[in-house]
Amino acid sequence: MKHGRYPFILSFLALPVGLYAWLVILPFAQAFQISLTDWSGSSNSFDYIGFDNYVNLFKDERFVLPALRHTGIILVVLPVATIALGLFFAFMLNLGGRSRQGRIEGVAGSRFHKVVYFFPQVLSVAIVGILWKQVYAPENFGGLITGTLSAIGLPSPVNGFLADKRFVLAAVIGVLVWSAVGFYLVFFSSAMASIPRDIYEAAIIDGAGRFQMFFKITLPLLWDSVQTAWIYLSIVALDVFVLVYLMTPEQGGPDTASEVVGGVIWKYAFKHGEQAFASAIGVVLFFAALSLAVVSLRFGRREQIEY
């Protein structure tokens, strides 16, 4: 029976592994190779220059360092804000309502809310970007938020949120959270549904309020889901390129105030003709993403609870 087992298994694996090697591993390996050269991207000649690109990368006050800072900020703020809001909404929609005759339910109209919150998820990111660009526009040009702020007598940035260095990054993160929260609401809702109701009922009998129910029961039992969400959101945070490209002035402005790592790679590769330098940034990003995944999986581990 054992005879011929390996050729059989290999014949199944050959195609996917081959495709993976060709389309994923090979380009990565090539990025490493290119990052050690001075290749411009539009020629077939180049010289190996060692690690110069990596050294220069951390001296680039113009693009790379601001981009690393901004991506770092997004990496912290986006998961925290999205998970906090997602958990809060999911808890309110599933368990947050008044308990009627001992039954635990969500707030009124929770089904309707779930659908509404999920809407942004079905919009393509290009539409989201164009939509929000208009929402953030200057008041003179039909900006929704600036217009509303002025209407109720509050100050608002005269050139809109995206042209203002102080607000542009926050504005981009706001859109990211807005478009992600619906998905995590549904994600956490389904996780909450698997927590047995009797635990909550026992807690209520013991006199626990909603606060205690959330922090003592829901959150600990959802830890695995939170961890998964964290990793997903971190990956999203490392690539905010599309929104920055679509919404912000000069794709990362004003004056680099919203530059992110993905956008800087694109700028160097295609606008500056410095493919090798762009590859070096890509390699750095690759290792950052890798260590992030390892760290969050290692340190996020907790005991599994079986119900």
Binding site: L10, Q30, N44, P138, P254
Partner: protein, 464 residues
């Protein structure tokens, strides 16, 4: 019992993969195209076919499908096919120039003729320094399509080759003739009884009057401050003479600190501080600013000479686009100076398969018929002399660029990507009140000095 020996154990599987990867990444990767010695094109005696085109050789043309569309190119190709009926022409019209064409350069199999324009342009400085482009002197020295006794060079307007010239060698044929001007609506000015200002001081005096009519004096594409580049430099150049802005291109020490440049920067900053710019302008893009202008919310807008064509179907029917030069300061040394010349660079890659055909195609584009086709389809002038255009805005622009000594295109942002990346946000901050003129000058002088000191950046110079 028979022991089975696995074909691959963990160790040799990894080894095999690594070896395979190493081999293929060295062999089959994007950076391994062949670099054959490219042939050269010479000018022969046959005026009909000076470059010795192989009539059966296919021709590969890539056109930037932007504001000018690609209809004109199809018509040019028809002329080529009249002369060489057997040549099969591949025509690609796209906006994604870098995405589609950069890999072809890297592979060593570029197109024959490439219209390297638009936001996705492959940076010219890197193409030139990498030696990827063919020099166009044979084309310019060849007999023109219409008259064998006149060379192609002599059929062109003055100064139009400058923007495609890198250290004295012509690498790009900038086909469209355009000028950077300030636009106003002649009807609005007539109705309100305003006289178009001839000096910066007159303009400043008119601004309060414009504001009283409920109109903002100025607007511009705030999200793309590069629209202010020529405004600033020409204002400075008019005041102190063209040498002032040439010095900036040449990265001369303290070129930015010249009093004319400082004066121009201060004047632009003052437009903001005086409240002469449409509120919200720094937050809008070129489309929004042009729409505001069409809606007569602003009186002046700085833009290129393509604007009226682009807006023809959008602007109100009674809107009369009129250009003027940047209003010069009183006492300006060279008040007629204007940024005008070739735009829309057509290049011929050095490794083009049909090099002779590419030169011949460009020669057809520069024929009277070829240029008139362009003028008729897009209502814009080409760099060929004597193309008839029948719209008033084009005629008025022609009058502004009539003196060849006054034509100059500031080049540093095309020569040095690093300075391009600095001047845009710096202009943005200057006109939105975020930085003062002094800060602007310091910032630009710093990047100019850094560029001058950096040996890894290839330096370019004006011819004279």
């Amino acid at each position: 019992m028979r022991t089975t020996r696995p074909i691959f154990n963990r160790r040799n599987l990894l080894g095999a993969t690594a070896a395979g990867l190493a081999a293929s990444s060295l062999g089959a990767c994007a950076t391994s195209g062949s670099d054959d010695d490219a042939e050269e094109v010479t000018v022969g005696d046959d005026a009909e076919n000076p470059f010795g085109v192989d009539p059966a050789a296919p021709l590969d043309v890539v056109i930037f499908d932007g504001g000018f569309g690609n209809e004109y190119a199809v018509a040019h190709q028809a002329i080529y096919n009249e002369a060489f009926p057997d040549a099969e022409i591949t025509h690609l019209a796209t906006q994604a120039i870098a995405e589609t064409q950069q890999p072809r350069f890297a592979e060593g199999k570029p197109a024959d003729v490439l219209d390297n324009s638009g936001a996705q342009q492959i940076p010219m400085d890197s193409l030139v320094s990498d030696g990827e482009l063919a020099e166009l002197t044979p084309l310019l020295d060849a007999p023109s399509y219409d008259d064998p006794s006149v060379t192609v060079r002599d059929t062109l307007r003055d100064g139009v080759l400058t923007s495609g010239t890198f250290n004295g060698e012509v690498y790009a044929l900038n086909y469209v003739f355009s000028a950077w001007t300030v636009w106003y609506d002649a009807k609005l000015f007539r109705d309100q009884g305003w006289t178009p200002p001839t000096t910066w001081e007159e303009m400043l005096a008119l601004c309060p009057v414009i504001k009283e009519a409920g109109i903002a004096p100025w607007t511009y594409a705030g999200q793309h401050p590069v629209y202010l580049y020529d405004l600033l430099l020409i204002l400075a150049g008019r005041h102190g003479g063209v040498e002032v802005i040439k010095a900036i291109d040449e990265l001369e020490p303290d070129a930015w600190r010249n009093e004319s440049v400082v004066k121009a920067a201060e004047a632009l900053a003052a437009l903001y501080t005086e409240g002469y710019i449409l509120e919200g302008t720094p937050g809008i893009d070129h489309i929004q600013s042009q729409t505001a202008f069409n809606e007569r919310k602003a009186a002046f807008i700085p833009c290129g000479s393509w604007l009226p064509n682009e807006q023809a179907s959008i602007a109100p029917a009674d809107f009369e686009y009129m250009p003027m030069g940047v209003p010069p300061f009183e006492g300006s040394v060279q008040p007629g100076l204007i940024s005008a010349g070739g735009d829309e660079p057509f290049v011929v890659p050095k490794n083009a398969t049909n090099l002779a055909g590419a030169y011949e195609y460009l020669r057809i584009m520069l024929s009277k018929e070829g240029a008139q086709i362009f003028g008729d389809t897009v209502q814009a002038a080409t760099i060929v002399k004597g193309v008839e255009l029948d719209n008033p805005a084009a005629k008025a622009t022609d009058a502004l660029v009539s003196n060849p000594d006054d034509l100059f295109q500031p080049q540093f942002r095309f020569w040095y990507t690093k300075m391009n990346e600095e001047v845009r946000p710096a202009l943005g901050s200057l006109l939105s009140g975020e930085s003062t003129a002094a800060e602007f000058i310091d910032r630009m002088q710093t990047v100019a000095d850094e560029t001058a000191a950096d040996d890894t950046i290839e330096k370019f110079h004006h011819e004279d």
